[in-house]
Symmetry: C2
Subunit: 596 residues, 2 copies
């Protein structure tokens, strides 16, 4: 074997170390990133990056991550290990020989619920059980809240119910009510649980997918590791073509975040790309294949119904969801309701046996400003609401996918209708893009919409990279997309008034005002880029101590002048107080207006 | 002379040519950019780029642009040419010899109003006069509106009064009411007039400034040309240090867009950077110096009053406006009201004699999320409202500068208070940035706030580049900042419901749906980047005709499938109609439900 060593990005972020908060109910240790700040207490921030940023942890993608969560799962006593479905050549798109990505080396047998049990977080929540996963996310979300207690609450949450402190019991209630989900397949013991819901921090998803030309398992795992390093909370594997089964296994075994997929893509591969040839049996088999691997949520386009298809015919951009267009084509060809809709009950039975969460796909989302908020889009949304009720009755966890391309004045209606029709199930939107005219900058056109809809109540934002509409994102594009969405999600958290959300802004602004350049870099979402941009103009180390910056120079530095002003004002205030004392004591001075 | 040829970026944008719309009242020709689209009528878009993108025009920065507007000015018979103020060595920061940027070669004498006249657009508007400038901007703004007449109005304008068609009389009324300004110094005959107001398209400003190290007049002119090529509507020259007088002359003589400055910066240079040594006389002399050169708007920080300074002492980031901090320091040192506030009447007298517009500076804007919407900020805003009334009484044009750093839920209050306190004078904001934690990405943190406040009613958005807070923007940063703000302004125009604003989105989306890649590139805000991103994955020319793209490949292309669906649905609809006819004709068929 003379293969090169897998190149996975590891190591701590600048001035950062991992800290672990222990549970009080369960044997858990919740990781956070602690950023060193000069002359201040270290700042803890939410950390989705997994063991890869922990110098104390050794990671080897051939081993996969430690399956810590396995103990929690087995302790519940409601799952069984079984033989599992045999992997077929079709699962990997008939890739053979050199073109076949090797199987993940560690053999494992899948788990499923015993009997007809629902082993979902929703089932436990409804039964009044606080799982380790629930306590884990409570600790994770709680970040900074105790420090912020002294501060008055600030923000506009549009009817959300954001608590002062996130307790495990609060998490349980939210999951029981369907307002939040913890995507956590029982076959994904490597997972560090996270929660998606309107009353929690806004999350972001990054999409990755195999390249047609060069696919190695190292590359595919690295895409995921890279995305979570910069803050992706979940990762969707949208691979198509060859090797997708094996690549998915490599990704999941190395993923500390929930992995989502669109099973329809793989099912379509199995019928040679001919949508009309899809069958319920092939789709069902694909669901089980992926559920056994440990996929945490499935996008299921069950809301595309036959009678809605004519509603899209006059659109400027028709159907732009891949899954939606595949199902629409199938429905139209067979002139019948889709097998996803007709077999939705059976899909629920699979989901509940592995705790795969639904991400009910918006197959009819608008692909242009012209098509936003139209009849087709909202007809599908109502159907997704109906399906939500069916899934909940089976204790399945559900979130709802949303648009797309929507001008700013039409965004709020999307959130309001989603809340109304889908009974407060978490909303998961793609952007939305607020204009069509800036290809190459659609991470920005969509960050505007994403920040707004996140503020209005969307629980997770699917990122858009600069390459959207134009090509496949490279490594830099993925990072740009993730950072852009992190800042949009954070802007939403601030506006919603999450207690403690502003701690990082305040720490960074204090550093800025006090010319602590290193702290400013370290506290920022992308310390490397901040440092690099600064060093382009002022490369010398000494400048990092300078009490001015390259932009204005020392003469014009408003912040430096502000310090002078502060000193002067305090001096003058001191004198005024002194004068006041004299006055009170014996009228040595008279105030000017009284002296006249 | 063996100097290199000045390198100014010229030439048309891809698939574009200049067209000129003649006036009906005045001898004017209003330029627009016409983009060729296959199988469709060409799309006209707003064009701020001046003659530099017109292959038919020859530009030579040593000659300056043609002073077409000079004829309109002289025809009014209310201005006089005069000797003007002698340029001093201090005006150029005492630069000498090799370090002195040469004077602009074409000598000119300045104009000013005769007698005590106000030669402002506001004075004419109040007198019922429709100037050529007013007709010019009416034609410019009207772009696409006639084509969009058939469409129903859409949008939420928060109480603005956006007309179906912009008539010259509407422009006059808006200017007379103070709701809009045309920044147009009588000493800037090279200007292509534009309008700033809530009922017009949202505009953007780009800041440029000299570099301490390498300043040549070609470089400085090129910065301006580059910014307007990508869509900057106005340019502020924020140069400091040496040569600023001469560089400013080069810029204005070559600028088709309004040029703004902060005269305080140059005044401070004249007193060696010591704020306390500033005097009204030096400031006044600087105003006249710059007014004679043709600066179209001045930022004047007259709202910073002595009693407000203590309000900033407890802030996280103090005073972050350079002008604000300079004036605060002066006030505090002398313990008196600022000379800008005390001499505001006299400043108005200068502004009206040249028609320099006020941009009333927000010296106390918040520099961090923590400081947003505080007492200091709003106290100053109220003072700016008082000053607006004084300026209007002298027929001076006024806009109001705004923040800064503001979380999303506090943005609308800024707009509402500005409208209330400043009597609907146009608002001109910097962003606002919606979080502090993303240095290196502040074009994006601020584009979110900019799009929103533009929607709420802000008339012009000052761009922020990726280098904000970190260093000096280079050429790429300037372009990124301008494109980012163009898309934010456009998102605002769409949401406000400007008739015709969506024409470009629709044309681009049609091109996207029909796989017309070249049209998609050409219609986008940055055709070069769109093409480059596409070519990274699919470089071949043949791929530009491909009915799929690199992202999903042919099997998964939702748009390609949509075409199949459309064809199939139309076929089925056709069959249904046929069946309907049979039924009507003689009941050959019975509908299924009736047949039971």
């Amino acid at each position: 074997m003379n293969k090169p060593t897998p190149r996975i990005t590891t190591g701590a972020l600048p001035a950062s170390c991992k800290v672990f908060i222990p549970g009080q109910m369960h044997q858990i240790a919740v990781p956070m990133r602690s950023i060193h700040v000069s002359n201040e207490t270290p700042l803890s921030v939410y950390d989705s990056s997994g063991p890869y940023t922990d110098p104390a942890a050794s990671t080897d993608i051939r081993q996969g991550l430690a399956g810590t969560r396995g103990d929690w799962l087995r302790a519940r006593g409601d799952i069984e290990e079984y033989e599992g479905r045999a992997v077929t050549s079709a699962d990997n798109g008939f890739a053979e020989g050199d073109r076949l990505v090797p199987e993940f080396p560690k053999l494992r047998r899948p788990f499923r619920a015993t009997g007809n049990r629902a082993v979902t977080q929703m089932a436990y929540a409804k039964a009044g059980i606080i799982t380790p996963e629930m306590e884990y996310v409570a600790i994770r979300e709680n970040l900074g809240r105790t420090e912020a207690w002294a501060e008055a609450r600030d923000g506009e949450d549009f009817g959300a119910a954001i608590p002062d402190l996130v307790t495990p019991e609060f998490v349980r209630q939210e999951i029981a009510a369907g307002r939040a989900i913890i995507p956590a397949n029982i076959n994904h013991p490597e997972l560090e649980p996270m929660i998606i819901g309107r009353n929690f921090l806004v999350k972001i998803n990054a999409n990755i997918g195999n390249s047609a030309v060069t696919s190695s398992m190292e590359e595919e795992v690295e895409k995921m590791v890279w995305a979570i390093r910069w803050g992706a909370d979940t990762v969707m594997d949208l691979s198509t073509g060859r090797n997708i089964h094996n690549i998915r296994e490599w990704i999941i075994r190395n993923a500390p975040v929930p992995i989502g997929t669109v099973p329809l893509y793989q099912a379509l591969e199995k019928v040679g790309g001919v949508a009309e040839d899809l069958t319920w049996e092939i789709f069902r088999d694909t669901l089980i294949e992926q559920a056994e691997q440990g996929v945490d949520y499935f996008t299921i386009h069950a809301g595309v119904r036959l009678h809605m298809i004519p509603m899209t015919v006059k659109r400027v951009t028709g159907i732009v969801s891949r899954g939606g267009s595949i199902m629409a084509k199938w429905c139209l060809h067979h002139h019948r309701e889709s097998f996803l809709y007709e077999h939705f009950d059976e899909i629920c039975d699979i989901m509940r046996a592995y705790d795969v969460s639904f991400s009910l796909g918006d197959g009819l989302r608008p692909g242009s400003i012209a098509d936003a908020n139209d009849q087709a889009q909202f007809a599908e949304l109502e159907t997704l609401g109906e399906l939500t009720k069916i899934a909940w009755a089976k204790d399945c966890q559900v979130m709802i996918e949303g648009p797309g391309h929507v001008a700013m004045h039409k965004i709020k209606a999307n959130m309001d209708k989603q809340l109304a029709h889908c009974h407060e199930a978490p909303f998961y939107t793609l952007g939305p893009l607020t204009t069509d005219i800036a290809p190459g900058y659609d991470h920005i056109t969509s960050a505007i919409g994403a920040a707004m809809i996140g503020w209005f109540g969307t629980a997770m934002l699917c990122y858009v990279t600069p390459k959207e509409h134009l090509g496949l994102p490279d490594r830099d594009d993925v990072k740009t997309g993730v950072i852009t969405y992190k800042l949009a999600a954070h802007a939403a958290d601030l506006a919603k008034g999450h207690p403690g959300a502003q701690l990082r802004d305040d720490a960074l602004s204090r550093a800025r005002f006090e010319f602590r350049w290193e702290d400013q870099f370290n506290l920022s979402l992308d310390p490397d880029t901040a440092r690099e941009f600064h060093d382009e103009t002022m490369p010398k180390e000494a400048h990092k101590l300078a009490h001015f910056c390259s932009m204005c120079g020392p003469k014009f530095c408003s912040m430096r002048i502000s310090h002078d002003i502060r000193a002067e004002a305090q001096k003058q205030e001191g004198m005024a107080q002194m004068a006041e004392k004299f006055r009170e004591g014996g009228a040595l001075y008279l105030p000017a207006e009284k002296a006249q």
